[in-house]
């Protein structure tokens, strides 16, 4: 993905201590600008490698528009570095790792959903997210199982969609 480097942006610059709003500095925008500038350079150079003489290309080939777009993107990134907006209030460390946990479990969900099945993956996911949103465990556990089972039943039987069975088949 073109955008992977965004995962580690400005938080380190002025975040983590966000008990008090930090509306000064503009390092967030500068960091965004730097990342985008990097992407722009890579994107533009990558575009130069596309074979413009391939079949079907006229005076402008598959490299022309990406080159232009890449340069424009780089110019806009430069503008952000030079004239950044004030930084936003970044999450506190504890909110930060909870957000990270949601992202991680969402990533894991995508990797394990096919092998272990929709129901198991969704139940686990519901428990993790539910707990992060302060769910009472007694109510959460039964619901986290009932809800994916109902969804799997509806989608597999009423709608023409086959969710991966995995560990529990047959719904």
């Amino acid at each position: 993905m073109t955008a992977t480097p965004h995962n580690t942006p400005a938080v380190s610059a002025d975040g983590h201590s966000a008990a008090a709003p930090t509306r000064a500095g503009g390092w967030s925008d500068r960091a965004l600008g730097l990342v985008c500038l990097g992407i722009a350079v890579w994107y533009t150079f990558e575009a130069r490698t596309f074979d413009g003489t391939a079949f079907g290309s006229g005076p402008v080939g598959p490299k022309t528009l990406p080159t232009g777009i890449g340069i424009l993107f780089g110019a806009l990134a430069l503008y952000l570095i030079v004239r950044p907006d004030p930084s936003p209030r970044w999450p506190t460390a504890s909110a930060g790792w909870q957000i990270g946990l949601v992202v991680l479990s969402s990533y894991i969900y995508g990797r394990v959903m096919e092998p272990i099945g929709f129901i198991a993956a969704s139940a686990a996911m519901t428990i993790v997210i539910g707990l992060l949103f302060r769910a009472p465990p007694k109510a959460l556990f039964p619901l986290s199982l009932a809800f994916p089972i109902v969804l799997a039943y509806v989608f597999n039987n009423w709608l023409e969609l086959q969710l991966p069975d995995g560990w529990w088949g047959g719904f």
Binding site: M1, T2, A3, T4, H6, N7, P9, S28, D29, L32, C36, E46, A47, G56, S57, G58, P59, V60, P62, T64, L65, P66, I69, G70, L72, F73, L76, A77, L80, D85, S87, P88, P91, T92, S94, A95, Q98, I99, V102, V103, S106, Y107, Y109, G110, M113, M125, I129, G130, L131, F133, R134, A135, F147, P148, F155, L159, E160, L161, Q162, L163
Partner: protein, 510 residues
Amino acid sequence: MILAFNIIDGFQNALTLENIALALVGCLLGTLIGVLPGIGPITGVAILFPITLTLGLDDAATLILLASVYYGSQYGGSTTSILLNVPGEASSVVTTLDGYQMARQGRAGQALAISAIGSFIAGTGSVIGLMLFGPPLSEVTTRFQSPEKFMVVVLAFATVSSLAGKNIFKGLLAVTFGVMLATAGTDLQSGVIRYTFGELKLQEGIDFVIVAIGLFAVSEVLTLLEDTVRGESVVFQKAERIWVTFKEFTFSLGAIIRGSVIGFFVGLLPGTGASVAGFMSYGLEKRISDTDETFGKGDIRGVAAPESANNAAAGGSLVPLLTLGIPGSGTTAVLLGILISMGIRPGSGNVFADSPELIWTLIASMYIGNLMLLLLNFPLVKLFVKILAIPPWFLMPMILVISYIGVYSVNNSGLDITIMTLFGVLGYLFRKIEVPLAPILMGLILGDDLEQNFRRALVASQGDYLTFTDGWLNIVLLLMAVAVLFLPQILSRMRGSNISDEFADASAEV
């Protein structure tokens, strides 16, 4: 006369039992989506689209369902504005000003009622407008060659960049990023594979549904989690009975009519959404009617005007969408993506002439949907309010899991869920640093069009770039694009800086 025949045909198609049922389901789901925090119309339509495909419906039925969701979410959004002081949608931000004040004074019922009535009048009026303006404007597109089609996309990009956020440069950055995403995959003209990182599944390009759900749904869950950790919460106001006296209705009628007219014409402007309309009509109504300085303190006209305007704009924005292929908001961008995937390409052809059955059925279904929403809202508001009480600890996983199903059903691929997660993180960070999200989606959906027309135009002109300023249509489009880029600055000079800030806030999430 032809118009009359067309719309009668449309009603005949729309009034089948199946289509009425779909409109009803769509309106209910839409209202629910509008009411629920963490899930807006963009997410709703984006998630429902792939799921709808699994129902095996025909194109018209799919469009009826999704358009009803779009309409319903506009209604639902105002309910939370009034009762919670939390706008369900960006378009109902202004409604909180007087709506929540009314609710605190125990007049929530009147606020909800006038909002439903105003929305109905405005919605119906704007569909009439769509019928009148759509076909002739669509005619114009038949004169478009590749350079004009390219310029139309440029105009759309200019408007969305300039209106969808506080900082125009961030808007432009977002739209450019979207176009970059669109170039990933196999180039249609030369077969060259671009920006796929050697990943086989990326050769078909990045599906807009996955990007939309990631950018909007996943990032919203992350944002709400941050608020929860911070301990920010909202206070409920109750609505006992939804009603309005005839006197209050006539008192608000002027605001409703003015709001409808402004809303429709703001909606017509390519790239401007319902939230801009709500804000402009509130500003105007305040100037005209606020003689006793009651606005902001629970004036019913302060609810009637923006609620009418945002619904009228939702209808009005379908005009540039269906004629030029220019979406006015994130949601209509998703609708355009859906139309394109059905093989209907507004702007490239005259859809009113090419697919009359589909378009007129859609228009007829909007009349039906509006009426349905009016009737539904009065008895059901209390039920929807109860749904609001669903705790976030259950709602958030539910939204995520349904998002996963929606994304998974696009290609039956786990990789798509990973891509969606990535866009969720991006969406969260972009929200933080106020990079608007809707332009990204627009860039992605229209990027292919931009490039194809760019190249076709240059092939036809044998590489002469002046072809894009050839002919008065191109000049007009170019001037409009330039004007639109300076519009926010002009607006903020015309009003106080205070209002333009709020204006930018309101349009930040278009």
